[in-house]
Structure formats: C-alpha cells, structure tokens
C-alpha cells in the first residue's frame, strides 16, 4: 500500500515538473515572439529586403569628341581594375603565384599585401590590366578575384590639342577645355534599375527601370585635325628655334567664326597623368593678354576711312620720323616722309598712325576698337577666356590716344586678334567665334563698312608683298597681313630685351577663306621681330592648310577681284 502511494506521489511530482517546464518554455517562446514583433521588426525587414531587392546603376560611356572630318580627338575605352579578396586567397599560395605571374608582379609582393590586409573584403591591386591579362585571369576562375570596369579617356592627337580639348579626372568629369565646357553633354546620365538578387549577389531578375540611361552624346568640333597638326608643328619648331618662352596659333574661318586650329606651345600629353602639370594647362591663345603693337594699325586705318575724310590714297606726312606728345615721344624706325595709308601699313609707321588718330576724336578710336571686338569675349566660352583691356576713352590722355593707334596701352588675346582680322576679311562683319558644331552663336553684326574692309584688306596685301610681312607669303597665293613686334612691360617700363613677335594674316587676299594669328612670346635668338619670327610660321601653316582645305592657288573665276588694288599700287608708287 505504502509502495503504491509513493509511486503515485512520484508521478504527480514529475507531472508538475513537466508542466512547469512547458510553462517556462512557452514563456520564452512568447517573449521571443514579442521581441521579434516589437523590438526588431524594422531591422529584420531591412535585412530581408537587402538580400533580395537592389538598385543597380546602369553605366554609360562618355561621348567621343570628333574634329570636323570625324577624326577622333577624345575617345573613352573600357579598362579593368583588378581586385582580390584576401580572406579567400590568404591560404591559397598556388593561386597567389598564378595571379602574380599574370600581372607581372613579384609573388612575394602580392603575398605581403594580402597578409597585411587579410581581414579586408577586397583590395585593389592594379588599374592597368590589359585585355589579355583580364581574359587569362578570368578563364582561371579563381575564387576571390574580381574585375571592376572603368572608362579611360584617350587623346590620339595628344599634345597638339591638349589645351583645347582638356582632359577628364578619374571619375570621368571634364576638368579643362572642351571636356569641361561640354561635360554634361558628353557625360550622359547613368540609369537605375531595380533588380532581384540572391545571397551570392547574382542578379536573379530585372524588375523595373527606375531611371532610363541617357548615353553620353558625341561632340563634333569645327577643328580640322590636319590644320591643327600643321599649326602645332610649325609653332613648336619656331618656339624652339627662336628660344622663345611660349607661343600660340589660331586659325579661323572669317566667314562664320569657326575655329579650325587653336594650339599652344609648350604643351603636355593628356594621356600621361604625370605630364599634367598645372603650369602647362593654360590655354594661352584665350587666357593670355598682350599688347598687339603694330598688328592693330589696320584698325586705325579703318577708323580713318570710316571717318570719311581719308581715302585709300590720302597722304600723311610722317617727317621728321618722330612726334612729341607732352613729355613723351612717338618714333619711327626712320624718317619715311610722306606716306599713303598703305605706306603707313607697309612701313608700320607709328607717327603716321598717331597723326591719323589725332585727326579723329579718342571716341572714334575707341569705337573702332570696340566694334571689331576688343575688350569683350569672343563667344568661345572656353575656360578662363580673358576680355583683354580696353579702357574708356574718357580716361585717355593724349599720349594714350596716340599709343592706342599703334597697339600699346591696351591688351588683347590671340583669339580676339583673329576675330578682329576676321572683320577685315569678311567684308566688315563681327562674328562670334565657335569651336563646336551646332553650338548657338550670336548673329553677326556690322562693324565697319564693306568698302572700308575691302580697302584695308588690299592694303594689308601690299604690307605682305612689299612690306614687313614678306616672310608670310605663301607660294601661289595672295596673302594680306600685318606683322607686330611689341616690347614687353617689365617692372613698369618697356624693355628692349623682351618682345612679343606677332603676325595676323588673311588668305587668299582676293577671297578670304582663312585668318591666322601667330604669337611668339619672348624670342631670345638673333631674330625677334614679328616679320622674322611669326610671319614664317603663318606661311608654313597656311601652305599646308590651303592644301588640306582644297583652297585653290590663284584667283578663280567666281571670286571677286579686289577693287582699287591697281590704283593703290600706283598711288603707293607715286607716294614713295
């Protein structure tokens, strides 16, 4: 009996213990449920979603920059960077050696890097993987080896177009030149897509296009790579031969303002990052201001013709070859005596220019300089373009009035000078300059009368054929142009030791197709004048350019013959 009671009691206790255990367990479960529902649901939901739904960027490539003949000037090509996962490779020496061998590294170097960063998810090894290296590595299928695609910009015309085209940074953003100016057009917009992926980050399904991809657009420039090459080569030769500090060349079509060549020396190779040094970036043709010297005289002549009191064969007495203005003196190289307007250009007479200026108001002088585009930007919109310096005529002293007539006391850029000569070349229109096809431009405005432009043009032809610009002649063509040798200001005084050698010219003079400006800064050799240093560069470039652009030598039937050309020559003969 006792025994039975004891057994029954035992069972009851065990039953209680089991019930208690169940109770505690259910409490734990309830607590777990509460915890999941209340304390952590947001975090969990996020974790679950992140494993499955992702937004993936759809990459686009930067557009190509072409010249006017569809020759590429800047092209993006995909390259691959190699990344390895140290956690997967730390104990895999065989594969480490394979990788090192393919990328041409010392295996010990790779081992050292991997063990130093063994806890990292991925470490970049190299960005310079060739197509073959990537293929070989990819074929091996080693776990822990990843490739990241990135786009690299190539500039086939390298140094020749470096300042104009500019370059991009590592993230494909334009930093200088055209690359910067047209960055948004070239870059395009990367798209976004919602995708479903598994735990291994493999795309299972593409769900939705969030943002469509807008591919980078190609850009067509007005630049002619052939003319650009001719310009760079001739400029490089001249700067080196004359031990000059730098130089710039601009070649444009005067009829529409399109730039065909714009180059500077010294330059840099935009394909090599170590060559990209800040002091070489400057696009001197648009950023550097200089006093134009005698290249400005044609506009003084234009002012005189526009005023109505002078005609092409009017005579000006420049004797005794010097003129005193207050405490200052304007001088010619020698006493040229009585000169026609053509003679003033041909001999580059400062006294003649001054006399013409003094026959007109300072306002008339200022008006003509402003009308041909000095003191304002050219429409190129390139980075850092300078306006030049043209002070108001109200502030001019008589000596300022005089100096402006022969290109001192004001500053211009090479592109401004080209644009101003464009006015003479195209019959009196001021056009805005452009470097990209299809870019909006300002409508042309009349700057001077057609007859004035024609007269000055024919005088400039004489200045080249018989005057200081003889070296600018191009065989088979009639060239119009003007040389300039401007002394540079050093510590507030004009020095005879540093000059700017300049030439601005128009070809063919009978029916202008091209305007070219050559600027050589501080030629140090035996020769330093515009006629000796800059004019031959013009001749060399135009010799090539006329051939490349199929401009025929001589005057063709459909081209208008310049009026007054014969009379100017005879009047010149009588004047001298």
């Amino acid at each position: 009996m006792n025994f039975h009671r004891k057994v029954a009691l035992d069972f009851r206790n065990r039953q209680k213990a089991v019930l208690a255990l169940f109770f505690v367990m259910s409490l734990v479960l309830i607590w777990g449920a509460i915890d999941l529902q209340i304390n952590e649901p947001v975090d969990l939901k996020k974790r679950a979603d992140s494993r499955s739904l992702r937004v993936k960027e759809v990459a686009t490539d930067r557009g190509i920059i072409f010249d006017k003949n569809k020759d590429p000037l800047a092209v993006s090509v995909p390259h691959y960077a190699l990344e390895v996962d140290p956690r997967k490779l730390i104990n895999d020496e065989a594969n480490q050696n394979k990788i090192a061998k393919i990328i041409g590294w010392d295996p010990r170097k790779l081992k050292k890097i991997i063990s130093a960063k063994k806890n990292r998810k991925g470490i970049p090894l190299t960005r310079k993987l060739t197509e073959e290296q990537r293929k070989t590595l990819s074929d091996l299928g080693i776990d822990g080896v990843h490739f990241t695609e990135y786009s690299k910009r190539h500039y086939p015309t390298s140094n020749m177009t470096a300042h104009l085209i500019g370059f991009t940074d590592r993230d494909d953003n334009g930093q200088e030149g055209i690359e910067k100016l047209y960055n948004t057009v070239l870059r395009g917009v990367a798209g976004e897509r919602r995708i479903l992926q598994d735990a291994k980050r493999q795309v299972v399904k593409s769900l939705q296009i969030i943002k469509p991809v807008e591919p980078g657009r190609d850009l067509y420039l007005t630049i002619h790579a052939g003319v650009q090459y001719a310009a760079y080569r001739a400029l490089e030769k001249a700067v080196i031969e004359n031990q000059a500090s730098s130089g710039s060349v601009v070649v444009m079509n005067p009829n529409n303002g399109n730039i065909l060549a714009l180059t500077n020396y010294p330059s840099f190779n935009p394909n090599i990052s170590s060559e990209k040094q800040a002091h070489l970036y400057r696009n001197r043709a648009v950023t550097d201001k200089f006093e134009p010297g005698s290249t400005l005289k044609p506009f003084t002549i234009a002012m005189a013709l526009e005023g109505g009191e002078y005609v092409s064969d009017s005579l000006v007495d420049t004797s005794p070859g010097a003129i005193k203005i207050g405490r200052n003196k304007v001088q010619d190289a020698k006493n040229y005596g009585v000169l026609s307007l053509t003679g003033i250009l041909k001999h580059s007479s400062n006294v003649g220019s001054t006399k013409l200026a003094f026959d007109h108001s300072p306002k008339a002088m200022w008006n003509i300089l402003w009308a041909v585009g000095f003191g304002e930007k050219t429409g190129l919109k390139l980075n850092g373009e300078a306006r030049g310096n043209l002070t108001s005529h109200v502030k001019w002293h008589p000596f300022d009035h005089a100096t402006h007539s022969f290109g001192y006391g004001m500053t211009v850029t090479a592109v401004q000078l080209a644009r101003a000569y464009g006015v003479i070349a195209n019959g009196g229109w001021l056009v805005s300059l452009g470097v990209a096809q299809g870019a909006p431009s300002f409508p042309r405005v009349r700057a001077i009368k057609k007859s004035t432009a024609r007269s000055v043009l024919s005088m400039l032809a004489v200045a080249v054929n018989e005057g200081t610009g003889k070296n600018a002649r191009v065989q088979g063509f009639n060239v119009a142009g003007k040389t300039g040798t401007a002394r540079k200001l050093l510590d507030g005084e004009y020095t005879s030791k540093a000059h700017m050698a300049l030439f601005a010219g128009i070809i063919p003079a009978s029916a202008p197709r091209l305007v070219g400006v050559v600027v050589i800064d501080e030629p140090q050799g035996e020769h330093y004048t515009g006629g000796q240093v800059a004019a031959p560069v013009f001749s060399e470039i135009m010799n090539e350019a006329t051939r490349l652009l199929n401009i025929q030598p001589g005057v063709s039937d459909d081209e208008p013959v310049i009026e007054n050309y014969a009379t100017i020559q005879t009047s010149l003969g009588s004047a001298l």
Partner: protein
C-alpha cells in the same frame, strides 16, 4: 435576374482584367529584360567601335602618315608651281 446578369458580367470583367494584368506584367518584365540586353549590347558595340577608331586614328595619324611617306616611301610634297588644278 437582370441584376444577377450584370453582376456576373462584372465578375467576368474583373477576372479578365486580373488575367490581363498578370500577362502585361510578365510582358513588361520580358521587354525590360530585352531592353537591358540590347542596351548592354549597344554599349559593348560602341566600346568596340571606340577601340577600333582609336586604333585607326593611331595608324592614320598625320604624324605617322608623314613619317611613313617621307622616310619609308621617300615621298615629298609637290611645289605649288608644279601643281595644276583641274577645273
């Protein structure tokens, strides 16, 4: 009777619209997959083209052509006097 018929009609409409929705959604997915494929194809073709024109421009660069013409082929530019233009 008339009301019942109308309700039945609406029910069928709902059913058909549900079917259409599923079909269209599937179609959209397929099309966007196709679009994605074509876009990536376009990109890779453009990349190939970029590589090719880069190579072409390296081979046909003015400096190279000039060098080959002058040095390898012994060519020179004719003087303007000797050039006759055909009209």
């Amino acid at each position: 009777m008339k009301t019942n018929f109308f309700v039945l009609f609406l029910a069928i409409c709902v059913f058909l619209s549900a079917l259409a929705l599923v079909t269209k959604r599937e179609e959209t997915r397929n099309l966007s997959k196709q679009l994605e494929k074509i876009e990536s194809q376009r990109r890779s073709l453009k990349q190939d083209w970029a590589k090719l024109i880069l190579r072409q421009s390296n081979l046909a660069s003015h400096s190279r052509v000039e060098q080959v013409a002058r040095d390898a082929l012994g060519m020179k530019l004719p003087e303007t006097k000797t050039v006759v233009s055909a009209k």
